[in-house]
């Protein structure tokens, strides 16, 4: 598969995903977390899809309540979109550093774990 085609496919997937969440009136009631279906317990990232949906519809409070990862995931997706559109140019190196990768990854797991331990798990046990 060509470099350009691979870039376009990935960009189309990103734009398609964002457009779906932004324009669909309500999320389907199909469970998206296999872990929750099998164990009936939430996983550390449960609520991110609902949070992204809320955020894209302007409900910041609900996004925060669903999962704070909803605020981090758009940054990661936006960065990937930027890297893909500017790939092969000087601008691409702006956000394509290992230090940024590490910060994003560490923030992601820290937020996921804190939310799980202090919000999702106590709510599930209650």
């Amino acid at each position: 598969m060509g470099v350009l085609l691979r870039r376009w496919i990935e960009l189309a997937a990103i734009v398609g995903g964002v457009a779906y969440l932004a324009f669909v009136p309500a999320l389907p009631s199909v469970p998206t977390c296999a872990y929750r279906v099998l164990t009936s317990m939430p996983c550390p990232t449960c609520g991110t899809t609902r949070g992204l949906f809320a955020l894209l519809h302007g409900d910041v409070r609900l996004a925060m309540q669903s999962n704070p990862l909803s605020f981090l995931v758009p940054l990661i997706v936006l960065r990937r979109g930027f890297v893909l559109t500017t790939y092969g140019t000087r601008c691409s190196a702006l956000f394509n550093h290992q230090a940024i990768d590490r910060t994003l990854m560490a923030s992601f797991f820290a937020i996921a774990l804190l939310h799980y331990l202090f919000v999702a798990l106590p709510a599930a046990i209650r």
Binding site: V3, R6, R7, A34, Y35, L38, T39, S40, M41, P42, C43, P44, T45, T48, L69, V73, I76, V77, R79, R80, V83, L84, T86, Y87, G88, T89, R90, C91, S92, A93, N96, H97, Q98, D101, L104, M105, F108, F109, A112, L113, Y116, A124
Partner: protein, 147 residues
């Protein structure tokens, strides 16, 4: 060494070329050994110096070669640590490993009544992130390589 994408001189440990931003060991447009432009897309060795255009790295059948553009390590980590355990590994080409991770995560999750979720999700996420990072820096990985 030289960037395989744009041909500019770059540090051998660099994960991204300072001029073009691409992973310097990934492209085959320029020889990474002498910087000579390669006009034949199917060539595997440089016509100027004879070095391998794949960076002189092993290309065994079980080795996964770096892609162009490389997969985003953070996205791969999130896919494995968020969407589905092992999904990042599967996208990176480690399909059997991804499936085994998924089965283990489900089994562990059922045994621990769901409380084991964070352990497996974080381990799978970090593993996918580190494997993607290796590929991004131009190093091939084996199908069962961890971290």
């Amino acid at each position: 060494m030289f960037c395989g994408n744009c041909g500019s001189e770059t540090n051998s440990n660099a994960v991204a070329c300072l001029k073009c931003g691409a992973a310097p060991r990934v492209g085959r447009a320029f020889c990474q050994n002498c910087g000579q432009e390669n006009k034949n897309a199917s060539a595997i060795v440089c016509v100027s110096c004879g070095a391998s255009l794949t960076g002189g790295v092993a290309s065994g059948s079980d080795m996964i070669q770096p892609g162009n553009p490389p997969r985003d390590p953070v996205l791969m980590g999130i896919l494995s640590g968020c969407c589905l355990v092992g999904l990042g590994q599967m996208i990176l080409g480690q399909v059997p490993k991804g499936i085994v991770l998924l089965i283990c995560a489900i089994g562990f999750g059922i045994i621990t009544s769901g409380f084991g979720a964070p352990i497996f999700l974080i381990l799978a996420g970090v593993d996918a992130y580190m494997i993607a990072n290796k590929l991004k820096s131009g190093r091939p990985v084996s199908s069962w390589e961890f971290f």
